[in-house]
Symmetry: C2
Subunit: 198 residues, 2 copies
DNA sequence: TATTCTTTATGACCGAAACCATAAGAATCG
DNA sequence: CGATTCTTATGGTTTCGGTCATAAAGAATA
């Protein structure tokens, strides 16, 4: 889901900034002034809780994040943190809006991406609503499975139980227990503790 | 949050259709072929559960719904049902896309609206994640309070406890009990059983 | 006005997930 | 390579929201 070619970004004055592992790109409740697009590394979008975080999204090469506040003019509803060393394209708001105005094709692709994110969050909210931990876990796994480059028949889940807990709003122990149960039911497979989904 | 002027819709070949109270506009998993904009009445977007529904959104005069699947080409993730008698503008997908292409201003306003919806769902997911029923209820109430025409200092919640339950994924009894508790805590006020939020 | 149906309310009981403690294997780092 | 941290695992206890039953007040309908 690559968004904007780097050549176009540069043309509008973007710069490629480095962020160290653990560094924040922006904080919750900050006003939005820049467009961000990951060139290298991974970024985590999350809400910090007292005990656990809630992960709203994970972004890597070619993906942009934090644009809705830029477009609609509100403050960030979540934090963005580099979870590895990163190189990120940074473009000023006014330049980004100009880029969108000048390139209807890019604008339409962006709209399309927002539509897909909305679809994902709608499905997620529905899954969360059911209150059923197992359904939550499978919904999250299937989301990343569908998002994965190849629609592999066999998807190796690249997350720890803790990460799944952070995305589903459950506790680690619950995820551990439910994953074992899902494996026993045949919904998942466990290869040396790695979760695999068919 | 009016989306597209009816004159423009008509110009692109939209027709004003009637839907009776209780009638479905579309069903979950249907492919999307039309743009819908409410002229009169109210529409409920929801996922049906075995016991309870989960309400994804409520739409009335001037609001459009069900566009993301149209833009990104996937199937509806929820059902849409008229909860009163309705008049709804209906425009064929191809004509809608043409309208967007011809009117960059309308396109940008649409993108902005998707951004706002995404913001709302992000906050909602965070609230749901906390697992705290009281926070869920307040998040929903505040959403509609902010959405309300006037930023009234005193917002009278226009929903039954059952409706709040359907939007938060809680049970009626839980909502009833928690609302009483929130009133005792001073977060809400109860005027003759009507919920009021300051 | 009488009769439903809906909405709000309340209390008892139950079960599932949180919480807590502990531990062992795996990975990371100095 | 040893030490430390992270991850997976397991079992016991607690808590909170779901479930069920019941009832009364209000709204809608005949």
């Amino acid at each position: 889901m690559t968004v904007i070619p780097s050549s176009l970004l540069q043309q509008y004055g973007a710069s490629l900034n480095r962020f160290a592992k653990g560094e924040y790109v922006f904080h919750e409740s900050w006003p939005a002034h820049f467009y961000f697009q990951v060139e290298e590394g991974s970024v985590k979008l999350f809400n910090a809780g007292e005990n656990n975080d809630y992960i709203q999204g994970l972004f890597s090469h070619g993906e942009s994040f934090g644009e809705p506040p830029l477009i609609a003019g509100f403050c960030y509803p979540a934090n963005a943190k580099a979870i590895t060393n990163c190189k990120i394209w940074v473009l000023k708001k006014a330049d980004y809006l100009r880029l969108l105005r000048d390139n209807p094709g890019v604008h339409f692709e962006f709209t399309k991406m927002l539509a897909i994110r909305l679809f994902h969050k709608t499905k997620l909210l529905n899954a969360m609503n059911t209150q059923n931990p197992e359904k939550r876990i499978l919904t999250i796994i299937d989301y990343f499975k569908d998002k994965a480059p190849r629609a592999t028949p066999c998807y190796e889940v690249p997350f720890t139980r803790q990460a799944i807990a952070d995305m589903t709003g459950l506790r680690v122990e619950t995820v551990i227990k439910k994953v074992l149960r899902l494996a026993a039911l045949g919904e998942l497979e466990l290869l040396d503790h790695k979760i695999v989904r068919h």
